[in-house]
Symmetry: C2
Amino acid sequence: MTEPHIPLPPPPEEVRHVACVGAGVIGGGWVAHFLARGYSVTAWDPAPDAEEKLRRLVDAAWPALTQLGLAEGASTERLTVASTLEEAVAGAQFVQESAPEKLELKRELLARIDAAAPAEAVIASSTSGYPMTDMQTRAANPGRLLVGHPFNPPYLIPLVEVVGGERTDRAAVEWASRFYEAAGKSVITMDRELPGFIANRLQEALWREALHMVNNGEATVRDIDASITEGPGLRWAFMGPCLTFALAGGEGGMGHMLDHFGPSLKSPWTRLEAPELDSALRTAMVEGCDEAADGRTIAQLVAERDQGVIDVLRATGRLSGAGSVAARERSGDA
Amino acid sequence: MTEPHIPLPPPPEEVRHVACVGAGVIGGGWVAHFLARGYSVTAWDPAPDAEEKLRRLVDAAWPALTQLGLAEGASTERLTVASTLEEAVAGAQFVQESAPEKLELKRELLARIDAAAPAEAVIASSTSGYPMTDMQTRAANPGRLLVGHPFNPPYLIPLVEVVGGERTDRAAVEWASRFYEAAGKSVITMDRELPGFIANRLQEALWREALHMVNNGEATVRDIDASITEGPGLRWAFMGPCLTFALAGGEGGMGHMLDHFGPSLKSPWTRLEAPELDSALRTAMVEGCDEAADGRTIAQLVAERDQGVIDVLRATGRLSGAGSVAARERSGDA
């Protein structure tokens, strides 16, 4: 990276105080998460009833967080609601911005946060929509601005996607990834900006296909939801789509699966056109699965999958017996 | 439907004996499922070592099935491996065909099954690729032929998609849906043939987007899998994508979500183009979600989601604490 380097932030595991700018559903969820992990949190939100709503959100989340296991010293009393943005970030070692998705607003807020926060603090945006390159334009120190994109609710869903903009210091990205992990999140660090990052691209593809189906009268909302919760969704809670599909290849794994099901990429199974399955892509998928399997054999992965499905079925109250989706009658005219 | 009606099959819950034609990973999985639900099963597969492999598959699945809870009288000893297809289906009240995905083979097998099975037996194909309309061409009694598409492994994943072809009797489709439910499956009954049915279309859209990302070097296999298992996959094990997205709309539910995030359907968040979000589609989504919510308020759904995520995290050994995805360094040049 060619941008001016940021002042050295503290070791990620020594952070004790974070600021959250914006305290709606996502920002408030971050507040709850950081409190539960034992941080002290200063929050700010311009809405007049923001403090009341935020404390209600945190209180509502606390029983769940207690079930998950609170960090030592975690307390809702470690939340301070500041009356100005500048006051909120003044002593922060890390800042999480979760303002509404409006580019101008984000640009302005990030510049103000940058101006008011300690020089060594890293500043992350929860944006799901904008690349940091477009948001860091007005900040005096863009090197410490990056995206830390959570999933709703941030206090329960582990994933955070971390990615910098063109003017972000690589060291800030690495520091933020380590900080989020220290704070109990599961981190994917991206080396380039991509609209929708990773998870949203994947679920958006699924979502758009679902909309097409409803639009064409091919399936109902209920069908679509049931097709996931009673089908692939049971596996995706613990094994991703790539490794899951590798198991469809039997002992031959991903390679065999691609050779066997490759032709179906040409089938009209969705409105999305697939890339050409050339040898480079085949190799990338096979080697990627080998890496993800991390030494586990196909038989071991199958055993893990089976046990995982059983555990998930049990956890969600669906041990076998009666079918859980009622037969549905449509007066269709197929 | 205009086709000749099939002879009346027995009430679905009185079926005691099923035949499975084809005993590979899917067919063998069906055998294990039916045995565990207390049926007697006759299987046939032309491979020379089919019986040995099948019994090994059933034995391997049995501990999992025992965990899930066996039906009264369920026993691996109720499996008979027949030496001919005709012998296998001769006394069957229901036949599940799970041969390799080759159209000519399926056509021929289904015609032979139809010729040999009792007149009142309903016959289902596990195909994931062919519409029944294309497979039932040679059978003397096409009215009783339909698709019963399972997910791997059929003895663990509840979903079965049931759909007939143009010449299938509607009564056979209804009977099969009720039979599968009596046999412990979760059934989606479709009123028209659609390439990939429902769940495979959804996961294929996600899969194709994943292949594009790997192909472009935008994400690794490990990133893709982690983005699901640490993110939306945790929710999809018990709440489908539509209801999940409805919760992103806060108290306004799906309607507010579509109004707020509708514009992102125009964003390049995947390579799949979305349908136009006109008022008809908006209404279909909102009413569909209302129907799926079945009287539950948004607050109740949020509480269910949160408890579900906690249960799934606990079941899969991921109660909070250290991030479960190791920081990953790529020598990128963003």
